[in-house]
Amino acid sequence: MRLIIRHTRIAAVTLAAGVLAMPGARLGAQDVAIRNATIITIANGDISNGNIVVRGGKITAVGANAAIPAGIRVIDGTGKFVMPGIIDAHSHAALEGGINEGSESVTPEVRVQVKNDDAVIYRALAGGVTAALQLHGSANTIGGQGNVVKMRWGATADDMLFKGAFRIVKFALGENVTRASSTAPADERRFPMTRMGVEFTVQYWFNKAKEYQKEWDDYRAAVKANPNAIMPRRDLRLEALSDIVKGDLKVHSHSYRADEILMLIRVAEENGFKVHTFQHVLEGYKVADEMARHGAMASTFAENWAYKVEAWDAIPFNMALMAQRGVVVSVNSDSDERIRRLYAEAGIGVRYGNMTVNEALKMITLNPARQLGVDKMVGTLEVGKDGDIAVFSAHPFSPNAMVEYTLVDGKVLFDRSEASTLRKQAATTPGGNQ
């Protein structure tokens, strides 16, 4: 998807010039209520003319008659729609230090780095997004560890990390890993260069991980009898692969074609690990039963037919078909531009595949929350969950819908009314479009 990211960056920059400052939203504990809105809880249906209260960063009340404590900030939700903050299960936004450590094909010890002052975070908030999985690119068979972040605009890089989320490692299959688009001569290209080579690479490294695990198991057994036993060398790469087998590090695998999806399921089962979530998975509809049986989830694009050779069989019904066969499906952005309109992407599932509105909305809320291991904290509007909330001017599937407010941990980090005023100011201020 890198090409698409490049094209859309221009549009994103144009938007950034327009959407500017938002006074008063400094970080700090803030209690807030939204009153008289349509509340899309995801978990317990929609509530008309309902109230929702957030105190100390957590939802403390939600319902038609939820009492609003005196003295806290109240947002009038009349005519507005309130839904859980949107979660993007596949993003390359706000990264620095490189996306692909492409020098070698298996680098699970490498971890992405958050660039906390990248303006794309604010743009994501403008699209109601409150959390995302930051992933490596797809140059490597096993690229490295991602970060689950909250869009805490104004916080430090460390404070953006979503505590309690899964540790996630990215695998990749197909054209990107085999460097199919590389123009380098074949003898200068890195192994693997075919899908067969990718399968071998995964198998080879998990064999090594097994040997490594045995070396440590032997040491732990030996040291009980012999305190002079030498502790083995720690190998961060093999340690990460061992963590995958133990289930401590969840596999999210970039994939397109049915055959490679089946291949990875087979290799994973042979090696005793699980593919937690398939990413992109545009032919998932062909192998949804196999994915469901394995227990894999799916995070896909709403469409993207034929944007590359391996995407030739993509269909917009993919999301609905996978969901019908029992796969937990999310729809992701993979793009600094599309991250602002994931709600429109999810709506495609209603038009193509007859998903219910709630099921379609789950694809950008509860389902990605499950894929990221944060569904106990976010993804629905329920008492006790984090105050991560998007307030829309209309139903999020309406073509007129705009995000009016975005709250993270109960803090209003995006407020369109202020942004609009300031956008006008900026337009009339010399140098204001800088």
């Binding site: 400052a21 230090g97 020098s103 010890e109 958050v114 906390n116 002052d117 030498i230 502790m231 720690r234």
Partner: protein, 458 residues
């Protein structure tokens, strides 16, 4: 922190440049006679906060032989009446790359470059020189030549040395510009190379930077660099375990022959401090993560240009900040964009003000105030007069003159493990001093009257 560090350092590294070296070094060069001096009627700032209003300093054979209000002047010394002047300890610029080779320099030949690609640290086993021939000697990639000694490689031009002395800088800490493990920190004097040995100290620290390897090798990115650095420390800790077991006669224990891991053993086992190059907030966080994970004690953070934004991280790891006075432009400081988007009042980034400049230049002052040990440096820029000018600006931004002097004398001396030789005007130390007209070393328009390096007048 300072005392701990000095104790932790192996003292054997210290190379005393005795006066005798003047006669023996560089026999090809013209001999320059060195005199013994007595600076009389001079105000003496012997150390930060230790002032003798009117006294004498005597230099004999390149060292300070006497200092005090009333000290006898031996016969045969050159007397210099410096009434109206003040003598300070020569400044120590805690980190400069001037005179050092660049870690990204080209390798000698393509063949050696290929050989260098082998091995964990990048040092190749060499290639056979033709069929059945002997092996070419191993070549280390400069980015990961962990046992390279900066002090051995220090080759400044005479013009560069003159420029350093022109700012009152008599000693420099030597830190490479770039690489991942480009070598070890050293210290050197700034006298002329013609007839004296500049190198003062090797092995003062192990340099670590978030660089990459060349030619598509791992690591090729900043994210890969962090992983490579962590693994390298782990490998060296493993090397240390096996070496120890080998010495104890443990069956099966055979230390590896990898020069890279072997070179990192002192740093990985806290026998030598690690000097990380990190300028912005996020880089400092990364250092803190690595130092915590690898249990590195009292690391040094070179650059620290956004140190004031990362004070908790610096304190958590017990770091000393070698603060570069090459300040970032205020509009490029991390988080500046928050003022333009989202948290601002105006809808546009507020225009830069004196307060923004002051915040950036006040970095050293903020760190001192927070209790982070600070040494000042020109790292990333030119040493010398510009360094002194920038110290003046740091003082204008809130650093007290005494703290500034401390951060440019005693703190870097301790950090570099050269306290016995430099940093204060005390008997037995090298005669490294700077003499200014008036009372203030850092005041604008104060010309430097004399600089002495190892007792030689410049």
């Amino acid at each position: 922190m300072v005392c701990r560090l000095v104790r932790a350092l192996p003292l054997g590294f210290f190379v005393a440049t005795a006066a005798a070296t003047a006669q023996t070094n560089n026999p090809a060069g013209p001999p320059v006679a060195r005199s013994n001096y007595a600076l009389t009627n001079v105000r003496i700032v012997a150390a930060p906060g230790r002032v003798i209003e009117r006294g004498t300093v005597v230099f004999v054979d390149g060292r300070i032989a006497a200092v005090g209000a009333n000290v006898p002047i031996p016969a045969g010394v050159v007397r210099m009446d410096l009434a109206g002047h003040t003598v300070f300890p020569g400044l120590i610029d805690a980190a400069t790359s001037v005179g050092l080779p660049d870690p990204t320099r080209p390798l000698p030949t393509a063949g050696e470059a290929t050989a260098a690609g082998r091995g964990a640290g990048g040092r190749g086993a060499g290639q056979p020189l033709g069929r059945g021939g002997p092996m070419a000697p191993p070549v280390a990639l400069p980015e990961v030549e962990a046992d390279a000694e900066a002090a051995d490689m220090f080759q400044p031009s005479e013009a560069e040395l003159r420029a350093m002395r022109a700012g009152g800088v008599t000693t420099v800490g030597l830190v490479f510009n770039g690489g991942i493990f480009p070598g070890r920190i050293g210290a050197a004097l700034t006298g002329t190379q013609a007839n004296s040995r500049l190198s003062l100290r090797t092995g003062a620290g192990q340099q670590v930077a978030f660089g990459t390897k060349r030619g598509g090798q791992y690591p090729g990115t900043g994210i890969g660099s962090v992983a490579f650095i962590r693994q390298s420390f782990l490998d060296a800790q493993y090397q240390a375990r096996v070496e120890k077991a080998f010495k104890a006669g443990t069956p099966g224990a055979r230390p590896s022959n990898d020069p890279f891991s072997r070179a990192l053993v002192p740093a990985a086992t806290n026998a030598m401090p690690s000097w990380f190059v990190a300028s912005n907030e996020r880089q400092i966080f990364r250092v803190a993560d690595i130092a915590t994970e690898m249990e590195l004690k009292n690391p040094v953070v070179v650059g620290s240009q956004e140190g004031w934004r990362a004070i908790p991280a610096l304190k958590r790891m017990g770091a000393t900040a070698v603060v570069s006075l090459m300040w970032p432009s205020p509009e490029n400081v991390t988080g500046r964009v928050f003022l333009a988007i989202g948290l601002g009042k105006s809808g546009v980034a507020p225009p830069l003000t004196a307060a923004d400049t002051n915040e950036v230049r006040g970095n050293a002052a903020a760190l001192v105030k927070a209790g982070v040990p600070v040494a000042l440096a020109s790292y990333g820029g030119a040493s010398g007069a510009d360094f002194r000018d920038r110290i003046r600006m740091a003082i204008a931004a809130g650093l007290s003159p005494d703290d500034a002097l401390k951060a440019a004398t005693v703190t870097p001396a301790a950090l570099l493990g050269i306290t016995a030789a430099v940093g204060t005007i005390e008997v037995g130390k090298l005669a490294n001093v700077v003499v200014v007209n008036g009372n203030d070393l850092f005041a604008a328009g104060t010309p430097i009257k004399h600089v002495f390096v190892e007792g030689r007048l410049y």
